[in-house]
Symmetry: C2
Subunit: 341 residues, 2 copies
């Protein structure tokens, strides 16, 4: 089977986005804030959004199951405050949960955390536990920059993050490192901020002893790892020079998705990064929605690029498409097994 | 001949760095600030630094001439104020000028600008003109984030930058987009901030009409373009979607250096980016100074990777190593011609 490790519910009805806008508007005026009922999305609306969106493309492109989380851009932890971030995380996660219950064969849930600039990452643990323990979520998205593009917080290797990692390890779920929208005009969201975050967090980790402290913590760096695999030699050299540690030692804990939207990029990724460390992902429907006029294919139909990598063995392909996701997300494996898959 | 488009005077004597530290310390206490004489570096010190550093490696690795500029990390436009930034630019550029006069066959000068957070980019024009018109500099380094990693300024496509571009066009010199040190703990300088800046500025330009306004402006994006060539499909898709403009149209004005420190990265770069748009560069002695234990070669000896790209024709190699630099830097071409090269 083909598991897409990276999908967001980007096709939510307009009313859901409007509720969020209103919630933010009245963040400091709770008496006049919209009630949570207003965020309700009907089953029909879900069916409409999913069946004409992600499910349709899943079928057309031949993938089987998507790890599905709330819209990353809309997490916007920099808006509102810690209370509204928690409410928005709950509402968004509950909606994703309903999708994954209605289409349990096609989607497995990954949660958003209720982060907020300056708030202790420990404060995200309760919502993480609710999602994983009560609702069967298999992973979470961790925003390394709740300030939305100004990076005013601490690196993800700072000890303030450790309570969250303790929970991840305890629950045995991985985190995908994924920023939200950028409110910094220097950084376009999906064209710069996303890739910069992937690159920056990898480097933060390279500088640290994070995995000495958390030997079983697993982090997925999306968008093909930002600039990292392309600059693998730079990082190999820096790791040896700064830490006297071969870079490859990070690969017990770090994984990259395959959200790279052209053939040469995916070839580089699969050549440089061992096949145990790449998870198939497309992030559809997401940053790039059009078709390549040169090929007539969707840019974000990343399966075509992996199919086109002649150097991959059948076993490599099994790992990329299925095996690695089952290993990195043990609760996904349990969920699939429970359904006889 | 082999022209390395990207080198900094990273081997300056310790006294020069110490002078800068003192200058910054007394930035707001000019009466007690160190006199400019204190920044003096003797001819012997220059010979020692260059002959045991960049010149030695140039000879060992078989390159002929390096476009040489002040240390990027030490530009640190976020320190001090506009006055100290100007003084530091003058002192640094004058030192680079002396190197390129003493070793005119091996180095051609590229200047640092006296940028400062919040200062109008127009204020950098006078120093740019002094360097180019009076001292024969062939290009400049433009810092797109004088705040040093907080990106509190405006995108490089904002009209506040236009007076600087008018001067670049008038002088017919290109700018390399190059940040300085990062004072943001989330961004390691050479491991994150540099690559993020390359990626972010490319995206700023993609979103803009900069080259409609400046059809002959030429910008060199270093470090192999950050994440850009690796994500070329993403940018092709975004350019079509956001601007209805093929991404390739930016290639009349944008060039990438080859500072990518492993074979697969340089193969991707030279496969994805047309050979008219890649300039040989190594940034030695710079971010990665060690040898790859797998090959015994220096990571930043980028010539080996280009030599190893079997798909490149002799004409491609001529462009990468020499022709493109002569074309993108007309004042380098004139300088070489004047010396019969």
């Amino acid at each position: 089977m083909i598991i897409d490790c990276h999908g967001h519910f980007t096709t939510v009805p307009a009313s859901f986005r409007a509720w969020r806008a209103s919630q933010v508007e009245f963040a400091n005026d709770p008496a006049n804030a919209p009630s949570r009922d207003g965020a309700h999305v009907s089953d029909d609306q879900i069916r409409d959004a999913i069946e004409n969106g992600q499910l349709k493309l899943q079928r057309e492109r031949g993938s089987d199951l998507t790890l599905f989380s709330p819209i990353a851009g809309l997490m916007s932890h920099h808006l509102g405050n810690e209370r509204t971030s928690l409410e928005w995380a709950e509402v968004s996660n509950d909606l994703v949960y309903r999708v994954t219950e209605m289409y349990a064969d096609n989607f497995a849930p990954v949660c958003q955390l209720p982060q907020s600039p300056g708030a202790a990452p420990a404060n995200s643990v309760a919502e993480l536990r609710r999602c994983v323990e009560q609702l069967g979520f298999v992973g979470c998205n961790l925003n390394p920059d709740p300030s939305g593009g100004y990076w005013t917080g601490k690196p993800v290797t700072d000890r303030e993050w450790y309570p969250l990692y303790e929970a991840l390890v305890d629950l045995d779920v991985p985190a995908m490192i994924h920023v939200a929208a950028s409110c910094n005009p220097c950084f376009h969201g999906t064209g710069a901020h996303y890739l910069n975050a992937d690159t920056s967090v990898f480097m933060q980790i390279l500088q640290s002893d994070l995995f000495k402290d958390f030997p079983t913590l697993r982090l997925v760096i999306p968008h093909g790892g930002g600039a990292v695999p392309y600059h693998w030699g730079r990082y190999r050299g820096m790791s040896l020079e700064m830490r006297e540690r071969p870079l490859e030692r990070l690969l017990d804990n770090i994984f990259f998705d395959s959200c790279v939207y052209h053939q040469p990029g995916v070839e580089l990724l699969t050549k440089v990064i061992p096949s145990d460390n790449v998870l198939f992902g497309s992030e559809m429907i997401g940053a790039v929605r059009g078709k390549d006029p040169l090929t007539g294919q969707y840019f974000d139909d990343t399966r075509q690029y992996i199919d086109g990598c002649a150097a991959l063995s059948d076993n490599d392909r099994y790992k990329l498409f299925e095996g690695n996701a089952r290993r990195v997300y043990p609760r996904l494996e349990a969920r699939l097994k429970a359904r006889g898959r």
